[in-house]
Structure formats: C-alpha cells, structure tokens
C-alpha cells in the first residue's frame, strides 16, 4: 500500500517534469510549467521519505534544513548577470550529490560484504567517473566566470597529450574495478584521477568559452544521474537525468554551431588564447569616426525606426535598465524601437533575453536573428550596445576570419550605425570588426551605462 503510494508519487513526478519542460516552449505558460515541475519534485521527495529503508531521520532533517538555508539566498540573491557561474555551480551541486550517493552505495555494499555485480558496477563506475569530472570541471568553470580564477586560457605545451594520458588512466581504473568490483583501490583512486582530469580539462579553456563547457558538463552530469538511477534501480533518476543530459547536449551543440566552432575546438583549441592586438592588419590605415553624446542623441531622437543590438558589453555594464529607459523615451517621441537578439549574444544562450526581460522589456519586442535581419534596410539607426562579434561583417565576407560563416545581424544594412563601447578592443573572438571603420558608423566611446544615461538626458532636452 505505502509502497504503491511511493511509486505513484515517482511516476507523477516524472510526468510533471516532462510536462513542465514541455510548457517551457511557450513563454506565457513557462512559469506555470516550472511550478508544475516544482510540485513534481515535492511529490518525489515525500514519496522517498516514506521509504521503508529510511529509519533515521535526524541527518535527513538536518540536511534538508541546511540545504534550504544555503539554497534560498542562492535563489533570491544571485543577480541575473551572474547566471553563467550560477548555473555552473548548480551543476557542481547536483553532480556532487549524485557522486556521493554512488560512493556511499559502493562503500556500503563492500562493507556488507556483498560486492555489486558487473552491471551495477558498470553503472556505479560511470556515475562516479562522470560525476567527479563534472564536479571538478564546473568548480573551475564557475571560478573562471566569477573571475576568482584567471579567466584567460592557460595553455602549455603537450597539454592535450597529458590530458589524454590521464583520461586513459581513468578508463584503465574503470575497467579494472568493473572486471573485479572488489578492487577498492582502483575505485577510490579513480575518484582522485577523475577530479584531477576535470580540473585539467577546464583550466586551460578561456573564460568566454566556459558556457559551451558548462553545457557540455551539464550533459555529463545528466548521464551521471542516469547511471545513479541504474545503480540504485531508481527510474525517476534515469528520466530526469536524461532530460538534463539532452538539454545540456542540445544547447552546447547550438552554441558551438552559432559560434561555428567544433567541440574539439572548444575543448582542446584554447581558442582566442592570444588576443589579436588592436589595429591589426585589417584595420591598418582605416579611421574610426567618434561621435559625442549630443549628436548621437539628435540622431536617435528623430529616427523613425531604431533597432537596438545588445551584446555582452551590455551585461558587463549592467546597462539593461538604461536601455529600456532609452527605448521607452524614443517610443514616447513617436519613434519605433525593436531589439535584435543574436542567438549567441552575451555569454550564454538567451543571455540578452533574460537581462532585457529583467529590465521589463516585453518579450514580444525581442526579435530573433531571422525575424529581424530583413528589417535593417528600413532602420534609420542600428544602435549597437556592447556587441561586437555578432555584428562583424567579416563573418559574411572574409573567408580568412575565424568567425567566417557564423550567421550575424545585418547592422551594416541600416542607414546609420551607432556603436557604444569603451574602446577599440576586440570581442570574444578577439578579432577586428570592420563595421567600426565603416563610413556610416559612428562610435560613442565609454561605458555603455554611462553613455546611455547621457543619451537619455540629452534626448529629454532635444
């Protein structure tokens, strides 16, 4: 009877998770969907607590309370701009939990003198391996994103070779312990080596590449909890694990596609290691036209259609609220404003959407690349706010460019372009951008937020 209830609660939870994610396909239903998933989670927890094998609740209660105490601020305090490292950290936590459960399972079975059979051991082994790699990797990733660790790529000769060897080491240990589950030394040293490998894998990679890495690790941790599910024979772990895994996988593919890079390139390329110096060949002899706040304000004030292109710089400058203000101001004056959001603008998928949503920009003003690219010809001003690579015409024209082939926003088709950035330094891809040297482009130098506040003030007075 009680058992039936437990199982029913698990089944219900799984269904709610899937339905919940399904509702994420519609912005207006998304929130309800996740609340549904939340309820599912509650079901699963309650169901578990009724489990016969649980005899001592002291540690559980302590753990739950402590978890809430830690988790609550993590949910309420973390600023939207810190999402990338926040996501990395949450991966660390779930992978950590999965791993520890696996270790406990193994330890208990060995202590009880009933070593796991091969199949179970395989599951356990993979779980531990993937789990440890994820834990170590995500910690490093979070550190780089939060800039506790040097976010520039740390490369050294023969690093890929070394990593390869270490990985082989893990596999060897894994095989050993699967072949004979009683080989405890192999099991425990695998943990150590896997942690080491995770660190070595991510440490060399540049901070800007982290989102891809994080998404990739996300699919690992998903697989890890699937493995846990197999190991302790719990279906709901398998289901949510594969949901988690596929999302991580799909997003990492999406990102590397949009950046046109391959996984290997991201993982082993240490791309962008030597930031190309400003004024590289391409820009030799070209000159940029700098513009003052007043003139920029005039242009915007009298524009019919302004298309705003936010980029990573907007995130850095925390300028999203100022952007909204500016947009509303222009609209009040009768101009039309649209936001063009590139799939990989910023540093994680949907980065710009979240920031602008936070600043209360309604999402029906945010246009995907394909929707908006046709409209730039109509636009009087393309206002580029801290974006760079995603408007780099080289992606279209210059076969030599590392971003050649990456789809971009056609800012250069607009009648005039205003670019807000601090200096001439390159973006993520570390390359020159001819757009800035284009005749119809004018650069408004300075921190995006400051410039925007200036513009707003001026336009009010126009």
């Amino acid at each position: 009877m009680r058992d039936l209830f437990i199982q029913a609660s698990y089944l219900a939870a799984s269904v709610m998770f899937i339905l919940g994610l399904r509702m994420l396909t519609r912005p207006d239903k998304a929130r309800r969907g996740m609340q549904l998933a939340g309820v599912g989670m509650l079901f699963a927890i309650v169901g578990t607590l009724l489990n016969h094998t649980i005899v001592d609740f002291r540690w559980i209660i302590a753990g739950l309370i402590l978890g809430v105490i830690i988790g609550y601020p993590m949910g309420t305090r973390v600023p939207m701009t810190a999402m990338p490292q926040r996501i990395a950290l949450s991966l660390t936590l779930s992978a950590l939990a999965a791993t520890l459960v696996g270790v406990a399972e193994y330890y208990t079975r060995m202590a009880a003198g009933t070593p796991p059979d091969r199949v179970t051991m395989t599951a356990l082994g993979f779980e531990i391996m993937l789990g440890c790699i994820t834990v170590a990797g995500t910690i490093v990733a979070a550190g780089k994103l939060q800039e506790w660790l040097p976010s520039r790529p740390l490369t050294y000769k023969g690093q890929n070779l070394l990593n390869g060897l270490v990985f082989l080491g893990i596999i060897a240990l894994l095989i050993t312990v699967i072949a004979d589950p009683t080989q405890q030394w192999a099991f425990y040293s695998m943990i150590g080596v896997a942690l080491l490998f995770g660190t070595m894998l991510v440490l060399p990679i540049g901070g800007a590449d982290m989102p891809v890495v994080v998404a990739l690790l996300n699919s690992y941790s998903g697989l890890a909890s699937c493995a846990t599910g197999f190991a302790i024979g719990n279906v709901i772990l398998i289901i949510s694990g594969s949901l988690d895994g596929s999302s991580g996988f799909i997003l990492s593919v999406l990102m590397s596609k949009a950046m046109n890079r391959s996984f290997t390139n991201v993982l082993f390329g240490a791309f962008g290691s030597e930031p190309k110096a400003v004024g590289a060949k391409s820009s030799a002899g070209m000159s940029v036209r700098s513009i003052g706040v007043e003139d920029a304000a005039i242009q915007l004030a009298y524009a019919q259609l302004v298309i705003i292109i936010p980029g990573y710089g907007m995130a850095v400058a925390q300028a999203q609220h100022a952007v909204r203000e500016l947009a509303e101001l222009i609209e009040k004056r009768g101009g039309e404003v649209k936001f063009a959001v590139h799939p990989v603008a910023g540093r994680m998928p949907g980065h710009m959407n979240v920031l602008l949503a936070e600043a209360n920009v309604p999402y029906d003003k945010l246009y995907d690349m394909d929707e908006i690219n046709g409209e730039f010809d109509r636009a009087d001003v393309a206002l580029v706010i801290g974006a760079n690579d995603v408007v780099n015409p080289a992606a279209r024209s210059d076969k030599a460019s590392p971003i050649y082939g990456m789809p971009i926003l056609n800012a250069d088709h607009a009648k005039s372009v205003i670019v807000l950035k601090r200096g001439m330094s390159a973006g993520f891809a570390g390359i020159e951008n001819e757009l800035f040297y284009d005749r119809k482009t004018s650069m408004l130098f300075g921190d995006a937020k400051a410039s925007l506040t200036g513009l707003i003030g001026e336009i009010k007075n126009v």
Partner: protein, 108 residues
Amino acid sequence: MSSQLLELYVFVLAAFTGYMVITRVPPLLHTPLMAATNAIAGISLVGSLIAAGAAQNRVATTLGFVAVVAATSNIVGGFIIVDRMLKMFKRDTGPAKQPPAKQPPSGA
C-alpha cells in the same frame, strides 16, 4: 524481463522525449531552460535521502548527509531562480508592473 533492461528502455525513451521537448524551446527561454533542467537534476536528492537515512554505516550516512545538503540547496535555489527569471518575461502590457530589482554589480 530483467529490470535493468527495462530501465534501459526507460532511458532510451526518456532521452527521445527530452530531445524532442527541448529542441522546441525557443531561444528566448534558453537561459531559464538551463537553470530549469539543473534544478530538476536536483532529483538526485532522492538517492541522497536514502543514503542519509538508511543508517547502514557512518560513512554512508555522512556522505548521504552532504549529498542531501547539496541536492536540497540546488533544488531550492534552482526553482526560486527559474521562477524569478520567468516572472520577468512579459508581453507588452502598457507600463511595467513591478520595479526592476536593484542588482549588485558582478563580473558576468
């Protein structure tokens, strides 16, 4: 049929489902999606609870306890933040309702 085999089927089908559901999430919601799946991954709490409560041996209990803390904080934090995010996505409805929360600067 052996239950491990059945679990394999569950895995395959769940992967299909996941793939098909997630490929249909619009780019607009990709950040919430990441956060959401991570929060759901907190389900590893299920295993942690058993490890922490089965009182098999001190090691298992301790590891289980830590696991419970990690998973719980992930779940709580995760669902809260997803909800915070999704709450922000609005259609155009005249003046914005709640004032944008002030944000401490950060390195993102």
